[in-house]
């Protein structure tokens, strides 16, 4: 009953502010620490080489893009386990559609794949009230199966020249286009969550669905929107994979759902809804990428990489959550 309130307090020094809120910002501190650690220990192995840095960005961008949408999903108190499989399905459909009807058909096919999957997930969750954990878990299998069936498990080459240039293959000036996509999706996601009415409603639904309903929010519609956005973003990610590799293939994106959720949670988004940060999720994705890259450069074997990566992620999440249990009264 006597606890003080959070939030910025007037007349506080930056140091005191940092001291009070460091746990909320652990991801940024962690990112700097990990980056500095590799920069120092691996400076002779080319960690800081611009090509290596761009490489990290390229490898991470697609995960980061999906993590932006996942931030919305988690903030609304839902989850989407089907993103990786949807990416694979979208890559296959895009590649096939390009072969059949050229570039516009390919783009339409990819995006429609996402919208369709999202509508199904959303319908099952908001109308039949099946938890998204189950609907999207099931959809993960359905989407993967569909991708395998449609493609006959074969890789489908993309011969169109323009497509890869737009979707993740080429460069825009000095920047890889993947990075541009990531920044664009990130900025939009950040503004949507933080500054728009829709974002407020997403957070309210995730924070307390009943209070949101009593406040006149159509909670079903908000959840539906978030689920469709997630699937469509996953489809975009699949199209970027396809562009980067000039191939559509069912394995693209396989297992990404876990990296995406890890990135979001690492960034400070709550698995239980009501709290989310898009910037944190992107940094979370980049941090996972930096760790992967650093561990490879250190010469660790794949098995060791897996263990080290898991340990670092657990450490970061534990640090960020240890102090967040606010005392009650």
């Amino acid at each position: 009953m006597t606890e003080t309130t959070a939030g910025t307090q007037r007349g506080e020094s930056p140091l005191a502010y940092l001291k009070r809120t460091w746990r909320q910002n652990i991801i940024y501190i962690g990112f700097v620490v990990v980056f500095a650690f590799f920069a120092i220990t691996l400076h002779d192995r080319g960690f800081l080489d611009p090509n290596n840095i761009l490489n990290i960005a390229r490898q991470t961008a697609i995960i980061a893009i999906m993590a932006v949408a996942m931030t919305l999903v988690l903030s609304s108190g839902e989850i989407d386990l089907s993103v990786g499989a949807v990416a694979g399905l979208a890559s296959v459909n895009t590649a096939l559609a390009i072969a059949w009807g050229g570039l516009p058909a390919g783009i339409a096919a990819g995006l429609l794949t996402g919208i369709a999957v999202g509508l199904v997930n959303g319908f099952l969750s908001t109308r039949l009230l099946i938890p998204t954990f189950l609907t999207t878990l099931a959809m993960m299998g359905v989407a993967k199966g569909a991708a395998m069936w449609i493609s006959g498990t074969a890789a489908i080459p993309i011969l169109d020249r323009t497509y890869p240039a737009i979707f993740g293959g080429g460069n825009l000036g000095p920047l890889p286009s993947l990075l541009v996509w990531m920044l664009a999706v990130g900025i939009i996601g950040h503004i949507v969550l933080l500054r728009t009415k829709f974002g407020r409603q997403v957070l309210a639904v995730g924070g307390n669905v009943m209070a949101a309903r009593y406040s006149g929010i159509d909670t079903g519609r908000i959840k539906m929107a978030v689920i469709v956005i997630s699937a469509t973003t996953a489809a975009l990610a699949g199209m970027l994979y396809a562009g980067r590799l000039q191939t559509g293939r069912f394995q693209l994106g396989e297992g990404d759902e876990l990296s995406v959720i890890a990135a979001a949670v690492l960034g400070g988004t709550s698995l239980f809804g009501g709290k989310g940060t898009v910037v944190g999720s992107i940094i979370g994705a980049l941090m996972i990428g930096v760790i992967n890259n650093g561990l490879i450069l250190m010469g660790l074997e794949y098995s060791q990489q897996l263990i080290a990566r898991g340990a670092i992620i657990i450490l970061a999440v534990a640090l960020s959550q240890a102090g967040s249990k606010s005392g009650q009264g």
């Binding site: 939030g7 407020r200 957070l203 924070g207 009501g274 005392g327």
Partner: protein, 514 residues
């Protein structure tokens, strides 16, 4: 009162101090509770009641002071130690697992085992039955807790404490969700437990209950001990003066002249719920406060939910300013100028982890600029105005709702609905579980809103409060509106009875005719 037990000291907390950061939650507070006594622990929210109870429960460690349980001294307690020494806590927000059975809950983490080391369900059920028999209440140990009435859940909590041989029972606002009949059962049980020599610490905001059940009262204010005396030495005014520490406003101060006009804003005709039936007819005028009285389950909250589009209407008609309307959703209700301050502010009213500003924004997003984006400046202005107008005590508008006391949380809920500028404000138990000071503020606010020309439907179980604030009072029973009473009828007349007593009789009987 009887002093008969003249019991030995069961709990002896002496000169307890506790600070949280720079805040003194407790300064040299003592609490001495004897066996065979019902001891009221009183104070406004933030007075230190929760802190001293947490120290007794072993959840908090005092900075200084001594703790003795049944004569045995401890520097500090842990939750396990407190339980071993017979401290049993009955929580305000029930701590039962809704999906488990009554027996499973009573013996949770304490299950009797069979010879083979497995849980002995039958023994558990038998022992639960024995405990309920001792308590002289009828609850089926095999029932799932979620299916029980609130009163039965409360009794299950007590059974759980008793099963752990609790000698000291702490009850925090035990009656806040109980119907009068359930309160009677609870009080009967407490009196028997007292006679058996249990020490009972009773926290409540309802003064009538304190005078009915308690033997002794300890009053805290701002973390200090104000007084500890037998309840017989107190008058109501004296006790309230100790709790609040300033001149108290008599509730009758609110009996102001009506601001009701002749313009009917809401007309309800033979309204019934699709699921539960009923028959409700009344009209509400501009500037009027219509009180709704009735027992728990009489359909008061259902009426509120039907008017706010949260519960489907079976038959009947709702007219707003003469025009027949259907209100299918809270969004539609809000657009029609209706607002609902719901019954359960923590679950239905607030996103507790979110800031005051974020909570106030939710129902008014449409008004915060026409574009896709939230007009932050406007939102800040509205929030600051609300904080000022309702005197919400907070360090900043960015503070999360759960950092505030119950009374201030309730003000946020009221504030967020006032921000929608409704014509009709429905308030469902707006003063439940908040301290007397905040209660007075809420009642005054209701009158002020009515004077501004808003129409208010005020649902409450506290009859004195209903009489104080309402122009007319509707009594509900079994989903029907059975009686419409003008306040003047209650306040005048030749009967010996006070207004609350007259109203209580009507409520209990389910109408005057019955």
């Amino acid at each position: 009162m009887t002093g008969a037990a003249a019991g030995w000291t069961a709990v002896d907390l002496t000169d307890i101090s506790k600070r949280f950061g720079g805040v003194h939650a407790l300064r040299e507070v003592s609490l001495r509770v004897r066996a065979g006594e019902i001891h009221a622990l009183l104070g406004e929210n933030g007075a230190g009641k929760s802190t001293i109870l947490k120290i007794l429960r072993g959840v908090q460690v005092p900075d200084s002071g001594s703790i003795a349980i049944k004569g045995e001294s401890f520097p500090a307690l842990s939750p396990q130690l407190a339980r071993e020494k017979g401290i049993g806590m009955i929580f305000q927000e029930l701590s039962l697992v809704p999906t488990l059975t009554v027996a499973q809950n009573i013996f949770l983490a304490n299950e009797p085992l069979t010879a083979r080391g497995l849980i002995d369900d039958r023994l558990m059920e038998r022992r639960a039955r024995e405990i309920f028999a001792l308590m002289r209440v009828e609850i089926d140990p095999t029932a799932v807790v979620a299916d029980l009435l609130t009163g039965q859940q409360q009794l299950t909590e007590i059974a759980k404490a008793l099963s752990q041989n609790a000698e000291v029972l702490v009850l925090d606002e035990p009656t806040s969700a109980l119907s009068p009949a359930e309160v009677d059962v609870l009080f009967g049980l407490l009196r028997r437990l007292k006679a058996e020599g249990k020490a009972i610490i009773y926290v409540s905001h309802r003064m009538d209950e304190i005078f009915m059940i308690a033997d002794h009262a300890t009053v805290l204010r701002d973390g200090r001990l104000i007084a500890s005396r037998p309840i017989a030495e107190y008058t109501l005014a004296g006790l309230i003066a100790d709790i609040m520490g300033k001149e108290t406003r008599n509730l009758s101060d609110f009996v102001s002249e009506s601001s009701a006009t002749d313009e009917v804003v809401l007309q309800v005709e033979h309204l019934s719920s699709r699921q539960r039936g009923g028959d409700i007819s009344f009209s509400l005028r501009r500037g009027e406060v219509l009180g709704i009285a009735g027992l728990l389950g009489s359909g008061r909250s259902r009426l509120a939910r039907m008017l706010f589009g949260l519960e489907p209407v079976g038959s009947g008609m709702i007219r707003l300013k003469g025009k027949a309307v259907t209100i299918g959703s809270p969004t539609a209700a809000t657009e029609q100028g209706i607002a609902l301050v719901p019954e359960d502010r923590r679950r239905q009213g607030l996103v507790l982890d979110h800031s005051i500003q974020a909570n106030i924004e939710i129902p008014i997003l449409k008004r915060l600029g026409r574009s896709f984006f939230v007009d932050k400046k406007r939102s800040r202005t509205i929030t600051d105005k609300t904080i000022e107008r309702l005197a919400i005590k907070t360090a900043s508008r960015a503070a999360p709702a759960n950092a505030l006391s119950g009374g201030n949380q309730q003000k946020i809920v009221i504030g967020k609905w006032l921000a929608t500028e409704p014509d009709i404000l429905i308030m469902d138990e707006p003063t439940a579980g908040i301290d007397i000071g905040a209660k007075g503020e809420v009642l005054r606010l209701v009158r002020a809103l009515a004077a501004e020309g808003k129409s208010i439907v005020f649902i409450s179980s506290e009859l004195a409060e209903l009489i104080a604030v309402s122009d007319r009072i509707a009594v509900m029973a079994e989903g029907r509106l059975v009686e419409m009473i003008n306040k003047s009828d209650l306040l005048t007349g030749d009967s010996e009875l006070r207004a609350e007593q007259k109203l209580q009789i009507i409520v209990q009987q389910g109408g005057r005719a019955a």
